[in-house]
Symmetry: C2
Amino acid sequence: MSEVEPETTEQRILDAAEELFYGRGIQSVGMDAIRTASGVPLKRLYQTFPSKDTLVEAYLRRRDARWLRDLAQYVDTYDSPEQRILAVFDWLFLWFSEQGFRGCGFINSFGELGATSQTVADIAKAHKDAFRRYLADLVAVADAPAWLTDQLVLLAEGAMTTAAISGTPEHARHAKDAARTLLRAAHAGVVTAA
Amino acid sequence: MSEVEPETTEQRILDAAEELFYGRGIQSVGMDAIRTASGVPLKRLYQTFPSKDTLVEAYLRRRDARWLRDLAQYVDTYDSPEQRILAVFDWLFLWFSEQGFRGCGFINSFGELGATSQTVADIAKAHKDAFRRYLADLVAVADAPAWLTDQLVLLAEGAMTTAAISGTPEHARHAKDAARTLLRAAHAGVVTAA
DNA sequence: CATTCTCGAAAACGGTCGTTCTCCTACGGT
DNA sequence: ACCGTAGGAGAACGACCGTTTTCGAGAATG
């Protein structure tokens, strides 16, 4: 019962791992760096996560769940279906403005390890699918055509990578502007087939 | 004068390096794999590129130039300013459909090494800037407002990452549909301010 | 107090990687 | 034929990394 700190060992490891993996890339971070950052000795670290691969997997899964939860919490502060769709891009702006923002952790890990690790590729795909399903719900509630979802996904994903590489959050505003135009066009029944 | 093959040593190295770096990620590829794939012995490899870092840099620079050149060549087969803009997304579809497509090499290398190597981060940024300038030209010639450029960039970048992770090229079509809608809205003078 | 057990710090191990070096073959010039 | 040199194949080296093991300092128990 020496639980002085509220944080469990697993959480301390995952906190350190997330900051390092996200901030520097996965392969650039050794287990020793995670040990130093978390203060958890190597022995206990390997008792909690039997390999670096499992730790990477746990990092991605926790980040996946928290990212979608935070997004939904923000969107839930709006009522109007149209505003809820646009709120997604406001939330992106807040995220892009955070110190240490370095793009989408799943796009980054897919680019780094997707060809090597099927697990990482699958988790990234599942994350993007979940995001797409969330947007599809918002679109359905707003009575917009289903294909608007695909367009909004592209704007959001494009904003993430562009914001990461350029280092400025303003691209979320541009995405929101475009989303508003597409939303209005969809509601107006403007069919954009060739 | 034993130049039987038209390829120079440097080209053979870069060809092998590009296929491996792009296909598996940079840190996952050792110099020995490049030696095997290129058939160039290690000694000559290091005479041509004094370190892995310089080889990575050369890989990125050559890919940058060729990518933009290929895009422009395709777009140049169209005359109408509007069709030239939309042709960008047709070219993306062709690119996404190529065997071994694994997303944008610059987004990938930025996610993997951008935090560690300022050089890689700079090259990725320069590549995206050049792409943006190219789109800005197309937009200007089409007499569309400058801010349309920002929106088109987001659609293109989003299509790249979404196509990479999902593994299907259709997202280029969705991006083209959205681009057409945004282009029409811009020409109609629909202001999308809040 | 003696003993056993727990646990953290750090050394050690095996493998890989970037880079250099060695050795050997083959050829060119005289 | 002989020698010098270039060039290629691969061993070698030093550093690092993921993982395991050792060692010693306490705490718990009799």
